[in-house]
Symmetry: C2
Subunit: 467 residues, 2 copies
Amino acid sequence: MDPMIVMQPDLAFEESLEKIFQFIEEKRYFKARDELLKYNEADIGEMFEEMLEEPDIIESTIVIYRLLPKDVSVEVFSYLPSDDQLKIVEGITDAELSYIVDQLDFDDKIDILEELPANLVDKILEKTPKDERRLINTFLNYPDTCAGSLMTPNYISLRKDMTVGEALAYIKEVGMDAETLYTCYVKDTGRKLMGIVSLSTLVITDDQIKINDIMHTDYVCVNVYDDQEDVSEMFKKYGFIAMPVVDKEHRLVGIITVDDILEVIEDENTEDIERMAGILDLEQSDKEYLDKSVFQHVKARLPWLLILMVSLMVTGAIISYFEDILSKVIVLVAYMPLLMGTGGNTGTQASTLIVRGLALDEVDYDDAFKVLWKELRISFMIGLVLSTLNFLKIIFIDGESPMIALTVCTSMILIIAFAKCLGGMVPMLAKKIGVDPALMANPVIGSLTDTMAVLIYFLMAMIILGL
Amino acid sequence: MDPMIVMQPDLAFEESLEKIFQFIEEKRYFKARDELLKYNEADIGEMFEEMLEEPDIIESTIVIYRLLPKDVSVEVFSYLPSDDQLKIVEGITDAELSYIVDQLDFDDKIDILEELPANLVDKILEKTPKDERRLINTFLNYPDTCAGSLMTPNYISLRKDMTVGEALAYIKEVGMDAETLYTCYVKDTGRKLMGIVSLSTLVITDDQIKINDIMHTDYVCVNVYDDQEDVSEMFKKYGFIAMPVVDKEHRLVGIITVDDILEVIEDENTEDIERMAGILDLEQSDKEYLDKSVFQHVKARLPWLLILMVSLMVTGAIISYFEDILSKVIVLVAYMPLLMGTGGNTGTQASTLIVRGLALDEVDYDDAFKVLWKELRISFMIGLVLSTLNFLKIIFIDGESPMIALTVCTSMILIIAFAKCLGGMVPMLAKKIGVDPALMANPVIGSLTDTMAVLIYFLMAMIILGL
């Protein structure tokens, strides 16, 4: 997409949206379209997202979509999330669909073809020129989370014996959309990538100079099967706006631009956040919360709940085992939530920080002892503050004996120390053995500390209260 | 930074780092420098990060840094995190520091000046030309998280009556670094921003055409005091590589480039993730885990732990209140962790999804009823599965009476329903009243569900067991 899209920032978006819904109710579709056209394509896309959320006006929405100027309709389509694109596809004719797919940027085209039912894809590909059809089929075969799925084959190729003047004339001739034009690629006759040169270098260099003399031959590139997470790491590290993608013979197969990386970063963050909360989306769908069915939500949430339930049952069994102690000093039960809760909260604080640190490469396995030592000191300070407060509260407010207070408070210090160290170490261990640390964060730490909290508590009760 | 930095991707980074540490031990500093120089500046920066982590070799590290070619040393400096930059600053001469600061890109310059002690800043500014000094002082005054703190004043200004040919000649003359050159800005005589035109448009347009005829006048821009989170939202929405920043008189004061936005996105995500885990970094420092002192960690973690402790105390008080019931049927205690834990886990799953949905604009307050209805159905399905399994386990494995099993399982269904709905609603409510939803996620939901879980459990026990 051209980064400079038309926009009227002062128009009240919400107000227009209300007007449009009003027009739809009155079946004044042309009016609705004209209201939409006051905005740029990204904003129109957002309005269609809102309209497509209402199942009862879906037909009117499609009618209005079909009333849009053709070029606008293509742009708007490219801004929509894939499930909204499918809703549109179902409502338009095959000819309209073919036109849209034909006009889309190559990477957007691949994205929508991946979502469409197979018979529709075949129908579209029938009308596509043979060369492009072959290219599309190659692209459709790249796994969803690898560099290949992010790239576009639309880039500027130069020859190394061109002059800068010739190169600029060539660029003017092929004229492409903005995002893919800022870096040009120099290939040898075997399509191997030899070097890269930025458009800005071309523009500020004398026309007579040879590309060979200004191209960078020690560029950074990624392999077509590299994981998208690694690709986004490289974008972050080097601050690129585009990066070449090569196959294993080092032939240039496409480029990835930074605007697609912004999405990858958000998706990877969402995945980490969800995993930390014990939500496991095995389908790796990028559907939004509201678009997922109840059953899909259940499928993503149930596995961890079942695993955690087992651990909670173990905690319960430990309590059963010590029932005698409890029935002798029933007041001990009242402090169980405090100890288990504080253990869980302090543990997940530590694990969250370490999981994030690992994800951003700020911490790694070699730092294990530093982390342990830091968490130990932190937990000592926190334990001291919390247990002092609790000691006073148990004696002066609850009116319990000092021995009860001592039992609760020493347990608390030990539990916090245990939770913080566990929270710091488990994600590192996970990383070491090749498991996603995010999976090991809150749920696992939370339930492990629960179990340990109960054990420590009963142990302290036996020692201090002599039970 | 020029996006095409030299890189030798095949050299083994870790191996070289080991060599360098070896050279340092043997005090062969030139050897160490030569090893470093096999890499590009971003990688050298990463090696210095590793070296600066070891306090005992800090002096050797500085010596090696000073042996780097001047241009390399400036680039490397710009890649370092700010606390490593300060370590370098302390070891080099004032003249070297002045040189580095002078050579840095404007936005990097501002970043380091913000971190330096005031007397050092004054010393550096003394040697800066008056115009630039004034500019620097303006930039230093922008709050840390606003658009102004991200921008650079280095952009290409064109006049609307220039032709494309004149514009390209002008760009060639002023020749600037790559990241800021891809979009050119057209200002009127009052420095107001009139329009923008991309370098790619210039390159593919005929030389005789006037800028006035090809510039976009309906561009998207941000205000200098806009929050950086909103700015990054706009980058994500529109897929820009640069965006103009204007003051309230709509005068162009700088531009923001996408490479700085990648960092903002990660920082905002980190903030959300930490807040969800009850970690509150009031200093908003961007220090990494290991660089924060024990005391800073304690300060960030203690506030929520204290608040949550109060809520856990309430839960304890409820248990105390029902002590009679417990002492009559002590076996009920054994199922408390299961109910509280499952409540917490299911609740935070829901709140995590909604907090993330709100952050990515996938869900908003208007969707409250949809969310509630979805979470109710989800919790019913999950409750059914978990409570059936527990019912069987309590009767056949634990050998308890069906009435106990019924008490636990009906409680479980109610607790899950309550937790899921609370988890879905509280973040939305927070957003509505202008509180960061991330603050309302795991800790708050977890402790609220704990309290409710205990209440529901005792209520069910009284009803079903007739206590």
